[in-house]
Symmetry: C2
Subunit: 481 residues, 2 copies
């Protein structure tokens, strides 16, 4: 454990003050990263440049790392360093993201990091669920157990920290903006509020409920409600970011993927630096599956691991452009018109990161599979009955797992990790409708409603023992009762 003379916890300024080191005295990192074209055009651009697209081809950028520098340390040295820092008190290295700073975003001064102690989330041993669906070792990586309740925090900490660094370096950035109705705006608003940086969230008027907006509103974002649809909002955000130096936080900004990439590193770390057999990720805009894939690839490049897991991307049937492309061996890709799905965050017909994702998935032994509305709702409910409480997108991943096990594409002895992307507390209305049998077109087979009784001991007793008897010694599928 790295200890300093005075307590240095999650407090940038106390840490710096107590060690009496001025902010500018940070030793320059020997590690380097830059923006490069994701499609391979020449050119390297500094990460503190306000740049989202390749100046040559107009495609997305990647954050690229100086692999030779990273290779100067052995796998054992990296493991030791990452293990030493994991969840400890020296700011910001206790964070699951910043504990891997060298392979995430090395150039940001510690004092400019805006962190809520992201990552290091539970690798939940889903023992009961695994038994029910025929997998000996099923794990759910609980990325939604975080400050704002979704995995977006992992990327947003990198983006907002970079903005804080740029502002500290004298760059004029009046605000950070995004068009998003969900987790992205929640995360952006929280990190900006923590840093004291203005955040702007732009949304289509009358198409978003206050419940969806309460996180960014509560976290003080300037919330503009425009008379248009989501694409119209996106156009305004882009123009603002182009013309006013407002910083763009939507997922074309590749800095976010660097933070999300740590999900892979953390998975391997949590298995004591061994690689699981299968990783299943829900996919909409496809940034997360790209990030997770890139995490594994980077670890292999620098010798931290020597094999890759199978990578499965799980899509909702009603928003499945990647699935359709996969069915044609990725030889063709056509956007679709996404239909309304319970997995609302992945209701995307033309994913921003489609090219990146296909490139990554081709590198892996990968599968893309889809889940219907009933399949995703049932899988979410079945998992909840064994102690989980996740979002419907996690349900898509679980439903796909069940399908692949039944099809023999995943074997019972394989170690499987399902990426959970958000806490179920963000989706209580979906769960409520399921358990009240109010989701149209499905039987809600795992619904567990209340039993109404008069208020006496004998009625309660009888109801309990009837339920226990009905359940039998092991309970009916999934249900404790």
């Amino acid at each position: 454990m790295e200890k300093s003379p005075a307590p240095e916890i999650m407090a940038p300024s106390t840490a710096v003050q107590s060690a009496a080191v001025p902010l500018t005295a940070t030793t320059p990192s020997p590690f380097r990263a830059w923006f490069g074209c994701a499609s391979g055009c020449a050119g390297q651009y500094p990460l503190n440049e306000i740049l989202y697209y390749c100046p040559s081809c107009g495609g997305l950028l990647d954050v690229q790392h100086d692999l030779d520098a990273l290779r100067t340390r052995t796998a054992q040295e990296w493991q030791h360093l990452f293990d030493e820092r994991y969840r400890r008190t020296l700011y910001p290295y206790g964070s699951g993201v910043w504990g891997k700073k060298e392979i995430v975003c090395p150039a940001i001064a510690d004092a400019n990091v805006v962190s809520t102690y992201e990552g290091a989330t539970n690798m939940y041993w889903a023992e009961r669920l695994g038994k029910q669906i025929g997998i000996d070792e099923l794990w759910v990586k609980q990325c939604g157990n975080s400050h704002t309740g979704s995995f977006k925090d992992l990327g947003m900490t990198v983006l907002v920290s970079m903005v804080k660094q740029m502002i500290a370096d004298g760059v004029h950035i009046p605000a950070v903006a995004c068009a998003s109705t969900g987790d992205t705006s929640a995360s952006l608003a929280a990190y900006c509020a923590a840093a004291g940086i203005p955040a702007i969230v732009i949304l289509p008027r009358n198409r978003v409920s206050t419940a969806q907006l309460i996180q960014p509103m509560a976290n003080g974002a300037l919330t503009l409600s425009l008379d248009t649809d989501f694409d119209g909002c996106m156009r305004v955000v882009r123009e603002l970011c182009t013309r006013e130096n407002i910083y763009l936080a939507n997922s074309m900004n590749s800095l976010r993927l660097e933070g999300q990439k740590t999900i892979s590193v953390e998975i391997v770390q949590q298995f004591d630096w061994t690689v699981p057999d299968v990783v299943i990720v829900p996919g909409g805009n496809l940034g997360n599956v790209t990030a997770i894939g890139r995490g594994f690839l980077l670890m292999r490049e620098i010798g931290l691991i020597d094999r890759l897991p199978r990578l499965v991307c799980a899509q909702a049937e009603r928003a499945n452009p990647l699935y359709r492309s996969f069915a044609k061996d990725f030889k063709t890709y056509r956007p679709v018109k996404a239909k309304k799905t319970l997995a609302s965050a992945i209701q995307i017909g033309d994913p921003v990161s489609i090219k990146k994702a296909i490139r990554v998935l081709k590198t892996f032994d990968s599968i893309v599979e889809q889940a219907s509305e009933e399949e995703l709702a049932d899988a979410t409910a079945l998992a909840d009955l064994t102690g989980l409480f996740n979002c419907p997108h996690t349900g898509v991943a679980l439903a796909v797992l069940i399908k692949l096990v039944r099809a023999g594409q995943i074997q019972s002895h394989e170690r499987v990790v399902v990426i959970s992307t958000a806490h179920g507390l963000k989706f209580v209305e979906f769960k409520r409708r399921y358990h009240e049998g109010r989701l149209r077109g499905m039987a809600s087979q795992y619904a567990n409603g209340p039993i109404e009784l008069p208020a006496d001991y004998h009625s309660a007793r009888d109801a309990i023992f009837r339920a226990l008897e009905k359940a039998g010694p092991t309970g009916r599928a999934g249900l404790t009762f």
Copy 2:
């Protein structure tokens, strides 16, 4: 880091299997704990006995530890052990609760521990909020960033693990039950679902919304909705637990406090084993303030710390029996009729743990203060504007902090820790009503509503720069804008 030959992560059975150690081979712990009367009657009772009240006086029990055994290790040895285990992969010691197993509940076999990797929650450095209210070092202990979204998981893991141990030992326990409309039932249901133990939640019909119930329902608890009020439900639960060997999970069960006690240990650990100056805890049934106080006292007993923090209990003005007792130097205590408060989980007029809490608070340099509805709502909103997103009970604690700073009872140089008890995602309706100005009797002075605009760049641009100008370089109180 404790490593075993094979990966041993958060999986009881794999861990045991891979090390090829049969379940019964656990070395007996040299540490011992037992139930004893909280009011001092003689007698020690095993923790695996189904016992909630002192057989002599009928009062509550405490879990008492063999302090001499604990004192056989030095402070440095305990610190080293706790630090080594913290957030690591050897099940169940990566949990913030079970990493302190010797001082929590030493007799449970590791394989019977039901854990969701509780604790080790962020100590949030509330830098911006601290500056605004005049505290140099303000920290918010994010206990609600957990599996079910509240601090209750810290205690429930101990209770449900003990039940699993008893069942493994051949004790007949058909189910575990509680009467609760909130966090307790959510936590009970999740841990029982993970363990495959039947859970029963008993509630007053028509007085509880499905939203309140969705966690226990989704987690498969048998939910009985009785034609009575809350007290009527409590009577039925008690009778079931007395007559049917159903195990009682309500807060008279003192096992839960042992897990919650680790909050104090973790606070001290996160400050590199130094004690903060002030700890502020919201108080309703008063189990948590008792647990936190007892945690500090135990640490002092075994030499882990040499001083106590000041302990502040924060009550809602509309449910303030402890505050009234404190105003009379704890010489008298009278239950009150709790009025409806936004801080719904602490709307309690006759707290279960009143005697225990008064005993603990008398040992500390303590304060009990209260907050009005507007004060608690404003404090919650002000904190959210600086990046937090907590429950209204945390708001009560923050409001009390603000009052005590203004009154000069807490000084700006003191290191203050506020205990946040639940994630704000459990209280979006409360936040929504605040920001929509719909909470009666208050001005919602920190409300941050959306701005409606036509869908063009110039309107958006003008709105943004007007807001930036109005906010000025540092933003208006609390608001990023």
